[in-house]
Every structure is written in C-alpha cells, then in structure tokens.
Symmetry: C2
Subunit: 104 residues, 2 copies
DNA sequence: CCGGATCCACTTAGATACTG
DNA sequence: CAGTATCTAAGTGGATCCGG
C-alpha cells in the first residue's frame, strides 16, 4: 500500500471512528498505550490521504473532532475480509508457529 | 496481524508463488531489488507461520523449492479484496495527497 | 485539551563479503 | 545455487517535557 494502513495504529484508529466522529481524547482511551504524539501523527497522515477529516472548534477548552470520509468508510469492506480470514485461520498460524518453536 | 504479511516483501513473495512452486533464484528475479538475505529471512518467517513449505533437494547444484500451503492460498481471498479496493480508490488517495501538498 | 519538540530504543532492510 | 555473517542506514514508535 502506498499509504499507511499497514502500520501499528492506523487500522485501529479507523475502527474507532467507524461509529461516528470522535475527539482526540476519545480516541486515546480505547487505543490503550498510544502516546499523544503518535496518535496526532497517525491522524495527520490519515487526514492527508483523505480517509478522515479534522475539525477544530474555537472553544475553551479546545475541542477537535475527527470523522471518517466516504473514502475512509469504503476501507471497511476489504478490512472485514481480512478480519474474517483471521478469525477462520489464525488458529492454524498459531499452531504452525508452535510446531516450529518446538522443532527449532 | 500477528504475523508478517504487512511488511515490505511478504505479500509480493506470496503472489510469486500463486501459480506454483518456485525456487530461490526464481523468486529473486521478479522481486527486483530484494537481497538474498531479506528474501531468505522472509521465506523462513512465512514457512514458520505455515503459509508455505520449503523443500531442499539433495542435488548438485543445490536446489530448494518453495510452495504455498492451503493456508497460504487461502490468503488470496482477502488480498484480492484489498487489491480491488486499491484499484477503485487509490486515485482518490493520490488526489487528496496532492491537495494536502499544495495546501502546505 | 490538543498537541509540538526533542531524544532515545528498536526493528528492518540494504550493502558487502564469504561459504557448502 | 542458495544461502549466512556483519555492518550500517533509515524509519517508526515510546518517553518526557513544554506550549497555545
């Protein structure tokens, strides 16, 4: 892929936005362990590629909302195909690894 | 994904094996630019995860063949879904990036 | 609240040289 | 032919501190 959906967090971020717009801190919580820097970084990249929009509200305290674009939503089709594969076959992968571990 | 199909080469390697078994040097050619080290590394990882098999022939000169397992073949379903998405939408991603670039 | 700036640790891959 | 060994370069993510 020419853009970053293969990295550590982007996939999860998109999932967190599937049900509707979320603000920065609402994303940080479910993505346990992500730092603010990396979250901001990832969001900028996804925005740059047109998968989500960033809306800044002129309030106090400040509020920023992220929302999927139609393009972003269209990714869930292939993503679900991969997830389905994982559900069906990941046990086989783990088993193969266990055998390799035992042999090797 | 818990295993490496998201890295730089694994996806391409699997594609090169789609039509049937190939030997080491037959993989190196179409994967232009891959080094022997990285190819060997990737193949070992894919073998470890049960996606392909490695068969060493006791000949001279030596010959080693790599072949997809049923599990490996089963990956093409979701892979094709992602490729179809890319064909349909990658233009939009590029356009978004060009706009972001222009905007600064 | 939403990050940017800086520094650091780790992983990957490329280059090169060598071997059974 | 089919790798391994070693070194280096680059990218990515984490930790911490600081600012609008």
């Amino acid at each position: 892929m020419p853009f970053k959906v293969g990295d550590k967090w982007s996939w999860l971020i998109l999932r967190c936005l599937e049900a509707g717009p979320r603000r920065f801190s609402e994303l940080k919580v479910p993505l346990r362990g992500i730092t603010a820097k990396v979250l901001a970084q990832s969001l900028r990249a996804l925005e740059r590629d047109g998968l989500l929009t960033r809306t800044e509200f002129e309030e106090n305290p400040p509020r920023v909302e992220y929302e999927l674009t139609a393009l972003g939503h269209s990714l869930f089709g292939p993503m679900d195909a991969v997830c389905a594969w994982a559900r069906e076959h990941l046990g086989q992968v783990d088993a193969a690894r266990a055998r390799a571990e035992a042999a090797g």
